[in-house]
Amino acid sequence: MADKKFTGTSTYIATDDLMMAVNAAVTLQRPILVKGEPGTGKTQLAVEIATALGHPLFEWHIKSTTKAQQGLYDYDAVARLRDSQLGDDRVHDISNYIVRGKVWDAFESAVRPVLLIDEIDKADIEFPNDLLQELDRMEFFVYETKQLVKARHRPIIIITSNNEKELPDAFLRRCFFHYIRFPDKETMERIVDVHFPKLKKNLLREALEAFYRIRDVPGLKKKPSTSELLDWIKLLLAEDISPEALRSDDSRKAVPPMYGALLKNEQDVHLFEQLVFLDRRSRTQ
């Protein structure tokens, strides 16, 4: 196999199952669909795969108004109409008004590219169906110029979804699937380690302890995620917080410092403070 195996990078810890799914998708040249809680590194995965395997990356971020066609190309009819009214010479060649999309760019790439289709569930429900043929055959037809665009190298396609919409079966059948589970403590330690290699062991331990304690608070609207943990640790380092300050049995400091980086929701902050308060009271009694 010409392609290297993906085993994570110096800044990205990939679990065994993730590696398996990615390598299967790379080898069999099929798209891989990645789901998971927000902040678990779905989008980052594409960047890391591109880095690890040394392929160029094309990113296509999907919005609710994005149409499948826009990934292929756009025909700027309005510009042409305007040009025709102004008597511009360009108007006679329709290809002047064909604007390439990300998929086209990826298909034209001289080496095998990585194509990220980010948050596919944001788009209209028909969006994935409209791309079936293109992703299967890796080619499409430009009707305006009667030109067939064929991928020079089948791109490694990473598709992310936040579960906002169900994706059609026909689409799912063609993909490999991976669900990024929220990392357990062991994996999380490795993740933090690649981001902050010089972090003191006891600070890491206390920080993770506090972090999972917050995540375990029942009824949180938005549980803090990996990316928020990393931000928080960065803050802790910047403010030079000592590990002792994170200790849970220190009743005065039971609310971890800078928790604003972890809890982004007013109700969650209230809920957490309330629990800490109750906890403290039960302890003093």
Binding site: D17, M20, L28, V78, R173, R174, F177, Y179, R181
Partner: protein, 415 residues
């Protein structure tokens, strides 16, 4: 004797990857998955085979587990079920080498040998002592290989001297995994059942409430009318060289009206809270959403504000008059009580009711033909609780568990 827990993999691989070999093991697994409610398609099975053939899955059971999950299951809510089927299907594979010898039909192996071995090789195996000897040699070879490679995962050699390489199987097929802790750790993955809380059969919680909401939204967005698509009209007009070309699109139309009747008080409160949150989160999607509370069962009155339940009662007949029959009626309650509370006048635990609860619910159902009852009690218990049975009969079996999938089924009945 090789006791590595993943030698069953080689067993599968032998059978799957040999071109003429039966796919029995994998197909059985495939059909078990389908029976288990996961519906992988043939395409996906073929993808899995292709991946196995390409040698994507390396050396161990967990590799196979991860690969098959990635190929066959496209929904994390089904991971837990997949784990269960996987565990059931591959239970006890730790001793699979024995199984390799015992379970693989002997004549199949013989046939394979005949098909795939040259005269010369067959003669050599015969010389070794026939089938038994062949298996023994295979076993020894596996053991040796493991020792030599210090626990790493290596192919069985395909050199002419090995009867197994000479079988003509894909050399990647007869593969032995390492015996180390990595494997033991991973072997438990499906036993840990970490995806249990993603299963849509469990009751609604904070995690899957979002999923449930999506189902509700979908429900609310049905119905269509034509609407002028301004952007598309401009676009098409431009393409048409300025000649007007009008485009229409179906309107996203929130036509659904819902009456939500919630059982409140006692054990139901938690469920009621979840339900209320869920429906109010989807509120913007409904044209109208009205809440009413009741206790245990529906009688001549309900109330809107639980704190003032005794002061501000709303007669049920007034509700049926005020809200037309195009409303969909959703009850949420555990329907667990004494049957008297349903069928007898005066059966209510809270007050004297002139007419039985069953009379009132029939009246409601007559006004609102589209109605369902969502029940947080686990389905298994329904048959053992007379009042649930009774309520279910009154509801013409339109009772659904308060889970994501139950909600899904229920909503389908509301259309």
């Amino acid at each position: 004797m090789c006791t590595c827990s993943n030698s069953w993999f080689s067993w599968i691989a032998v059978r799957v990857l040999s071109k003429s070999g039966p796919l029995a093991v994998l197909t059985r697994f495939f059909f078990m998955l389908r029976e288990g409610g996961i519906k992988p398609s043939i395409t996906e099975l073929l993808t899995l085979l292709e991946a196995l053939k390409a040698g994507v899955a390396g050396t161990s059971v967990d590799d196979f587990y991860f690969l098959s999950r990635s190929c066959l299951v496209k929904d994390e809510t089904l991971f837990d079920r997949f784990d269960q089927v996987f565990a059931a299907h591959f239970h006890g594979v730790e001793d699979a080498f024995r199984a390799l010898v015992q379970d693989v039909p002997e004549d199949w192996l013989r046939k394979q040998a005949e098909l795939l071995l040259s005269e010369e090789e067959r003669a050599r195996i015969e010389a070794l002592g026939g089938f038994e000897k062949l298996m023994e040699a295979l076993r020894d070879r596996l053991d040796q290989q493991q020792g030599r490679h210090e626990g790493g995962s290596k192919w069985i050699g395909t050199a002419g001297t090995s009867p197994f390489g000479a079988y003509g199987y894909n050399p990647e097929g007869v593969r032995i995994g390492q015996q180390g802790s990595r494997n033991r750790r991973a072997a438990k993955v499906w036993d840990r059942r970490e995806y249990r809380n993603l299963d849509d059969q469990v009751e609604l919680g904070t995690r899957n409430i979002k999923l449930a909401l999506r189902k509700l939204r979908k429900f609310a967005r049905e119905g269509a009318a034509d609407l002028l698509d301004l952007d598309d009209t401009i676009d098409k007009t431009a393409r048409n060289a300025g000649l007007l070309d009008i485009r229409m699109i179906p309107e996203r139309h929130n036509a659904i009206k819902v009456l939500l009747c919630l059982d409140i008080g006692g054990s139901m409160d938690d469920h009621v809270r979840v339900c209320e949150e869920m429906f109010s989160a989807a509120r913007s999607e409904f044209k109208h959403l009205e809440y009413f509370y009741f206790h245990n069962f529906i009688y001549e009155s309900m109330w809107k504000d639980n704190r003032r339940r005794h002061a501000e009662k709303i007669p049920t007949s007034q509700i049926t008059h005020k809200y037309g029959s195009d409303y969909k009626l959703v009850f949420v309650g555990d329907a667990t009580m004494s049957p008297y509370e349903i069928v007898y006048p005066g059966g209510s635990v809270e007050h004297w009711n002139e007419e039985a609860g069953s009379v009132w619910i029939r009246r409601l159902l007559k006004t609102y033909p589209k109605a369902i009852w969502l029940n947080p009690e686990p389905r298994q218990r329904w048959d053992f609780t007379p009042s649930i049975k009774l309520t279910r009969e009154l509801m013409d079996d339109r009772m659904f568990p308060l889970t994501v999938s139950g909600l899904d089924d229920g909503i389908r009945r509301l259309h």
